[in-house]
Structures are given as structure tokens and as C-alpha cells.
């Protein structure tokens, strides 16, 4: 196996640098996926039928909480990768753990929000607006859930194996994914919640 030591650990083998490029391309497809969901939402957002509209169900408090958690988790995720490049395992584990806990917190608030909407008779079946809202938020939330399972598995692997070509590469790719979810959330915050509250 050819190893290029001038590069960061996660890029050193040819296979691993291919994986990073492959994941970037996959994120390109993910951008199209979310762009389509946003288009659907923006097409349907004022088609509320007999159901409530955004202003009637959105509350800024929990949404700001979600935003704070997810944006901060992206920062700690960056710190984790930085620690990895410095070869510091303990800070890596700590920052990575904090990242996942904040993700979990985000998910908790999002689920509570969903339950609140449903209690206000705003279900996924009520109107086109609510269908597209739940599916857009739900797709993002499903991605976060996936990230929690994936990241949890990675923490076990790093704990067992330390920083190897494998674990470094996986952790770095995870960080790309996590930052991407953050970017998507910023769009959700702006085009769903702020727009809906205005």
C-alpha cells in the first residue's frame, strides 16, 4: 500500500483520498436531494388547505435551541478533527462525544416539536404545507439520527484502535457529513422558520 506521509493521516492512502472525493460527490447528490425538498416546500408552503399555517404553529424558542445546539456541535466537531490531526486522542473523544450529545439534544427538541404540532392537530396528513414541512424536517432529522448511529460506532472504533488510516479517514468523512447537516439546518432555519414566522 502506497502511503504519502506529506498529507494528513486521513488522506495518506490512495484508497482513503478516493473515499474523501467520493464522499464530496455524494454530498453533491445530497445537496440536490435537499434542494428538491426545499423546492417542494416552497411550492406548497402557503397551500395550507383547512389546516394551520406556519405562523400559527411555529415557536421561535425551541427552534433557537435547536439552532444553537446544532451550530455549536459543528464547531466541536471541527475541534475533534483538529485534535485528531494533532494526534490527541482524549480531546478528540471528548469533543466528538460532545458533538454527538448536542446532536441528540437537537433531535430531542425536534421530536418534542413534532409531538406539539401533532397535538395542535397539525399532522403530516392535514395539508400539503404540513406534509412538505414534516418530510423536509424529517429527512434532515433522519440524517442526524443516522449521524448519531454512525458517529457512535466511530467513537468505539477510535477508542479500540486509536488513530489509524481507517479511523482517521472515517472520522474526517463523518465531519464532512456533520457540517453538511449544519448547512442544511441554516437553510431550514431561514426559509422554513423565519419565513414562516414573518
Amino acid at each position: 500500500m502506497k502511503v504519502d506521509h506529506t498529507l494528513p493521516l486521513e488522506y495518506q492512502t490512495e484508497e482513503n483520498s478516493n473515499r474523501v472525493l467520493g464522499f464530496w460527490l455524494f454530498l453533491g447528490a445530497e445537496i440536490v436531494l435537499f434542494a428538491t425538498l426545499f423546492s417542494v416546500y416552497l411550492t406548497l408552503w402557503n397551500r395550507t388547505g383547512s389546516g394551520p399555517n406556519g405562523a400559527e404553529i411555529f415557536e421561535i424558542g425551541p427552534v433557537l435551541g435547536e439552532t444553537f445546539l446544532l451550530l455549536t456541535s459543528s464547531f466541536t466537531c471541527g475541534l475533534a478533527v483538529h485534535s485528531m490531526r494533532l494526534g490527541l486522542k482524549k480531546p478528540f473523544m471528548a469533543f466528538f462525544g460532545i458533538t454527538l450529545l448536542m446532536g441528540l439534544g437537537f433531535l430531542g427538541i425536534e421530536i418534542t416539536e413534532f409531538v406539539t404540532y401533532v397535538h395542535e392537530d397539525a399532522t403530516i396528513q392535514t395539508s400539503a404545507f404540513l406534509s412538505s414541512l414534516f418530510v423536509l424536517l424529517g429527512t434532515h432529522g433522519a440524517h442526524v439520527t443516522m449521524g448519531l448511529l454512525w458517529g457512535g460506532g466511530l467513537m468505539i472504533q477510535v477508542k479500540r484502535e486509536g488513530f489509524t488510516h481507517d479511523t482517521a479517514n472515517k472520522s474526517f468523512i463523518f465531519s464532512l457529513y456533520w457540517h453538511f447537516l449544519d448547512v442544511v439546518w441554516i437553510f431550514i432555519f431561514s426559509f422554513v422558520y423565519l419565513k414562516g414566522l414573518m
Binding site: A29, L33, I124, S127, L149, Q157
Partner: protein, 657 residues
């Protein structure tokens, strides 16, 4: 649910199909057991990560699907052969034209193209495999799972019946209450995920794994076409993913995306479908252009004319493909401005396509043309495809389209584009690259016979449909009265369809005969071709190239044959190869069951299967498999064994280097 709701009952043809499925499955099971081939099947095929074998499996699956879609076509033509025919009822006819369309596009054309991509691309760029061999196997098994799931619909639960476009509100649970369209939304979804992974895989392969010296502008034209195609897949398929997911939500969970009440918007489906659907047309046509470029330049013994303009025209086509989708529904109520813009973008596609047509013609000019079977398909493609293209420009004019929309004229147009475009191309590619895979050529005389039957019958089948359309016969009509006067032309078209069937039977016989009797090729380069795949042995050893070739020009193998400058100058070193794995196959099967349970809304089994998928992902994440190394001694042994069958200049392949 009662058993007679589960299985489709009351149709003699379906009973016949059930019996034949059971008989064929039993024959395969008994055959595998009797000849003790289970281990061989598992080790050599089901667990393989070798791009060549995966390519062969894609092509076999595509040929089976060609048969299935072809039977659908024959049934439709039989029904329409005479006025007021009672062979099929309206429901059965609806199901058949729906499955014909879906299967031919998604489960025949796509996998055939992807199969050829798999076989050829790593060889053509001088690589030893794709970037992610394991992911490649996952792609195949997801495609396979989707195809199988889609195909069992006609005996279990009923086929989708709302057209291959599945327009809402027709495809909604309200107007299509059977599980048929659940199959549509879930089976295509599963196969689509596989296709998306293929795109990522081949983009990385082509961008990062080319032989040293092969700059982008020195890549063979087929590689270029595949690169551009995969960019289109990467950006078009997520739209389909969303569209199908929303369809599934509407049908299974009562959401209101495309409904008629509570704010739903049925036209949203049409837009989403075609935002994917039109690029999809170019996903199956651009690789075909690539195949024709290779074949025409090889058998004209000339460099491809206008290499750069070929590349740029494909790039322009790929961009335009994303801005023409609304031309599929000019008549569905968007105003003059929108129709005008989409008319112009659509007609603009004729320009880069025309550039390509002229480039092929100029490549032929003053060439020493050799009329082999693949070359005949390529030569027939040019005029027939041009008819398809010109009628396409007619359809592109929005105001005129009010006359053609949803008539047989349209049906004739897209068959004139897709059959000489894609089907002729994959057959040409199949004949052309077959010797690389199996070490012998398909018999040329039989191949030419099949070609002439297919090419003539194609025109007999589809030319009358233009006139039927202009006379006012709409598509998807299951019968017509004698007074319409549609009878004679329909009968001619049906006779043509029988001719096509005969042509394909000759083609299959051609394959069978050649496996038994064809002369073995000992050169590795039976066509005196140009690109790197022909510089290694046939059949190709698992590591493709004992030594990685060094390239300094376009068509480096051709140049090397002319100048005598060797391609392979390095020493043989040990080669790193990926290990086989059963996981992709198992994952595909779990996906198939997951899809099946979802189709019938059996939530508990569906959740269990869904958890199974998550477990498989976790298993893969914790696995450490760094492949194996083939030692130099074994490579030399393999090369010697292969060379002893071959009498070529061994130095060319680097055996003595």
C-alpha cells in the same frame, strides 16, 4: 388480506406466467444442486467484487429484462393488431404498457449501459478495478433487488397501471387503490439508490485512477461519455429519490403532496418526475454516443473526427438536459412564456447533437471501413436516429405539439430515438467488447443476419406509428373501432414487432452458437482496435494489467502498435486486490424484503428488515478488510499461461519487462 387479493387471480395468462416462474425457478434450483454448482455460484458470482463479473451480471440481468419488456411489447402489439381485439382488457393493457416502459428504461437500458461501463471503463483507463469495488457490488445487488421486486408485482398484488410516468392524480391511492403503484415507488427507489452509488463510484474512478499520462483530453470517447453521464446521474437521481419518496408517503401514509384536496398539487409530480426524467434520457443516450464513437473510429481505421467538439457537445447536452423538462407537458397549462422558453432550450439540443452526427460522418469519410456487426449497428444508427431527432424538433415546437401530444407520433418518436440510440448501441457494444470478456468473437454472419432482421423490422414496426399518430390515434388506447381506419397500419406495425422478436431470437442463437463453436481469439485484440482495453489478454485476468500502462497520447494502444513504442515499461510488482464479500448480496436481499413488506404495509416485518439494513451498515463500518496482494510469482505464472495461448508480442504487455 385474503390469498386471492395477495396473488393475482382470474387471468389465464397470469396463471401461465406463475406456472412458468415456478418451473424455471425449480429447474434452476435442481440444476444447481445436480451439477453441484452452489459453491461456484456463491464464490465466483454472488460474492464477487470484480468489475468485469459485475458487468457481466448487469448485462445478463438486462437481457432477461429485455425479454420481459419484449413480451410486454408483443402483447401490446398483438392486442392492437386488429380493431376491437379482445385479447387484453383495459386494465391488463394499462398494466402492460406501464411495466413495458419502466422495465425497458430502468431495468433494461440502464443496467445494460451500466454493465458495459463496468466491463470497459477500468480497462479503458488502465486501472485494476473501480475506486470502490465493494460499493460496486452493492450497486448491482440493489439494482437486482429493485428489478426482482418490480417483476413479482404481476403475480403478487398486481402491476402498476398508471403509465411509466405515474402521473397524479391517477397514480394516487384514490384512483389506483391496488398495491401496483406501491411497487412502482419502492422498487424503483431501491434500484435508484444503487444507480446513485454507481455514479459516485465511476466519477472517482475516472477522475482519480487513470493510467499515468492519460490527461482528461486524452481519454477515450466512451470514457468521456461515461464521465458526463455519471455527472448527470449524480444530479438527476436525487430528484427521483424525492419524487418517489413523496409518492410513497402519499400512498402509504396519507400525505397531501399530489392530492386533489387540502392544498395538494398534482402538477408537482409531473415537474419532479421530468426534472429527473429528461436527464434520464441523456443518461441512456450519452454512453451510446460513446460506444458509437469507439466503434466507428475503430472500423474506419481513423482517429475520431473532432475530438474536442465531441467532448464539448456532450457537456452542452448534459447542461441543456436539465432545462428542458417542461416540454413533456406543454399542453398541461403553463403559459406562452414558459412554453416558449422550453421550446427554445429543447430545439437547442439539436445543435450539439448535430455536431456529433457530422463528426461521425467525417470520421467515416475516406476511412477504410470494415463492415463488422457492431459497425453495421453504428452505421444504421446515424440515419434512423436522425429521423428520431428531426421528429423531436417537430415535437419541441410547443404550438405544434398540441397536435402531436399523447399520440402515436410521440410513441414513434421516442422509439426512433431510444432504439437506434440506446438499444443498437448496447448491442454494438456487446458485440464489440464480447471478445474481451470471453476470448472469442460472436459469429459475424449470424450477427449480420440478426442485424438486418432487427433494423428492417424496427422500421416496419415504428414508421407506421408516425402516420397513425398524425391520423389521431392516441397512445395507451387499448382498442379502437374499425371505422377509425387505424387497422391496416397497426397490423403492419404488429408484423414488424414479430420481426423484431425473430431478430432477437437470432441474436440469442448467435450467442449460443458462438459459445460452442466460435474460433478462439489468441491476440487479445481481434478488431485491431485503438484503446487500452485491447492491450491486455482476453479473457482479462482479474488484475486487468500485469503492469500499469504509461500513456502519452490519445488512443495510446493504436499509437504504440504503429510506432512500436511499448506501453508497459515497468517491472511486475505485487498487486493489491480487494477481497470478495457476501455482504452486498445479503444487503440487496434484505432491501428486497424490506421493499416487499413496505409495498403491503406490513409494518412489523418492514421494521425488522429496516433494522437489518442498519445492522449490515454497522457490520461494514466495524469490518477491517484491506484486501490481499497477488505475489509476483503468481502474476508471472498467470501471464505465462495466458501468453502461451496467445502469439502476440509479449513485450508489448510487459511480461519480460
Amino acid at each position: 388480506m385474503k390469498w386471492d387479493e395477495f396473488f393475482v387471480t382470474g387471468e389465464p395468462m397470469i396463471y401461465g406466467a406463475m406456472v412458468s416462474i415456478v418451473v424455471v425457478s425449480l429447474a434452476i434450483l435442481i440444476g444447481l444442486t445436480y451439477f453441484k454448482k452452489w459453491g461456484w455460484l456463491w464464490r465466483e458470482w454472488l460474492t464477487t467484487v470484480d468489475h468485469k463479473r459485475i458487468g457481466i451480471m448487469y448485462i445478463i440481468a438486462a437481457l432477461i429484462m429485455l425479454f420481459r419488456g419484449g413480451v410486454d411489447a408483443l402483447l401490446m402489439r398483438a392486442q392492437l393488431a386488429i380493431p376491437e381485439n379482445g385479447l387484453l382488457d383495459a386494465q391488463h393493457y394499462n398494466e402492460i404498457f406501464t411495466t413495458h416502459g419502466v422495465i425497458m428504461i430502468l431495468f433494461m437500458a440502464m443496467p445494460f449501459v451500466v454493465g458495459l461501463m463496468n466491463v470497459v471503463i477500468p480497462l479503458q483507463i488502465g486501472a485494476r478495478d473501480v475506486a470502490f469495488p465493494r460499493l460496486n457490488a452493492v450497486s448491482f445487488w440493489l439494482f437486482f433487488a429493485g428489478a426482482m421486486l418490480f417483476n413479482i408485482s404481476f403475480v403478487i398484488g398486481g402491476s402498476p397501471d398508471a403509465g411509466w410516468t405515474a402521473y397524479f392524480p391517477l397514480a394516487s391511492i384514490e384512483f389506483s387503490p391496488t398495491v401496483g403503484n406501491n411497487y412502482y415507488s419502492i422498487a424503483i427507489q431501491i434500484a435508484g439508490i444503487g444507480t446513485l452509488m454507481t455514479a459516485v463510484n465511476f466519477l472517482v474512478t475516472i477522475l482519480k485512477m487513470r493510467a499515468p499520462g492519460m490527461k482528461l483530453m486524452k481519454m477515450p470517447m466512451f470514457t468521456w461519455s461515461v464521465l458526463i453521464t455519471n455527472v448527470i446521474i449524480l444530479f438527476a437521481f436525487p430528484v427521483l429519490t424525492v419524487a418517489l419518496a413523496l409518492m410513497m408517503f402519499d400512498r402509504l401514509f396519507g400525505t397531501q403532496f399530489f392530492t386533489m384536496a387540502n392544498g395538494g398539487m398534482d402538477m408537482l409530480w409531473a415537474n419532479l418526475f421530468w426534472v429527473w426524467g429528461h436527464p434520464e434520457v441523456y443518461i441512456v443516450i450519452l454512453p451510446a454516443f460513446g460506444i458509437y464513437s469507439e466503434v466507428i473510429s475503430t472500423f474506419s481505421r481513423k482517429n475520431l473526427y473532432g475530438y474536442k467538439s465531441m467532448v464539448w457537445s456532450m457537456i452542452i447536452i448534459s447542461l441543456l438536459s436539465f432545462v428542458v423538462w417542461a416540454h413533456h407537458f406543454y399542453t398541461m397549462g403553463h403559459g406562452v412564456m414558459v412554453n416558449g422558453i422550453f421550446s427554445i432550450t429543447t430545439m437547442a439540443i439539436a445543435v450539439p447533437t448535430g455536431v456529433k452526427i457530422f463528426n461521425w460522418l467525417f470520421t467515416l469519410q475516406k476511412g477504410r471501413i470494415e463492415f463488422t456487426t457492431p459497425m453495421l449497428y453504428s452505421l444504421a444508427f446515424i440515419p434512423i436516429f436522425t429521423i428520431g431527432g428531426v421528429t423531436g424538433v417537430m415535437l419541441a415546437m410547443a404550438s405544434a405539439d398540441y397536435q402531436y401530444h399523447n399520440t402515436m407520433f410521440l410513441v414513434a418518436h421516442f422509439h426512433y430515438v431510444l432504439i437506434p440510440g440506446t438499444v443498437f448501441a448496447v448491442i454494438a457494444g456487446f458485440y464489440y467488447w464480447f471478445p474481451k470478456l470471453f476470448g472469442f468473437r460472436l459469429n459475424d454472419r449470424q450477427g449480420k443476419l440478426a442485424f438486418w432482421i432487427i433494423a428492417i423490422s424496427f422500421n416496419v414496426t415504428f414508421l407506421p406509428l408516425f402516420f397513425l399518430g398524425l391520423k389521431g390515434m392516441t397512445r395507451r388506447m387499448y382498442t379502437y373501432s374499425e371505422s377509425t381506419g387505424f387497422g391496416p397500419l397497426n397490423l403492419i406495425a404488429s408484423i414488424g414487432a414479430v420481426g423484431l422478436a425473430i431478430g432477437f431470437i437470432v441474436l440469442v442463437y448467435n450467442i449460443y452458437w458462438s459459445f460452442r463453436y466460435a474460433e478462439r481469439d489468441t491476440t487479445g485484440d481481434p478488431w485491431n482496435a485503438r484503446t487500452l482495453e485491447w492491450s491486455t489478454h482476453s479473457p482479462v485476468p482479474e488484475y486487468n494489467f500485469a503492469v500499469v500502462p504509461k500513456v502519452d497520447s490519445l488512443d495510446a494502444f493504436w499509437e504504440s502498435k504503429k510506432s512500436g513504442k511499448p506501453l508497459f515499461t515497468d517491472k511486475i510488482e505485487e498487486i493489491h486486490m480487494p477481497n470478495n464479500s457476501g455482504q452486498p448480496f445479503i444487503l440487496g436481499m434484505i432491501f428486497m424484503f424490506f421493499g416487499f413488506f413496505m409495498v403491503f404495509s406490513w409494518w412489523v416485518p418492514a421494521i425488522i428488515a429496516g433494522l437489518g439494513i442498519v445492522v449490515m451498515l454497522a457490520v461494514r463500518s466495524f469490518e477491517r478488510d484491506h484486501g490481499r496482494h497477488i505475489p509476483v510469482s503468481e502474476i508471472i505464472k498467470t501471464e505465462k499461461a495466458l501468453s502461451s495461448r496467445m502469439d502476440t508480442d509479449a513485450g508489448l504487455r510487459g511480461e519480460h519487462a
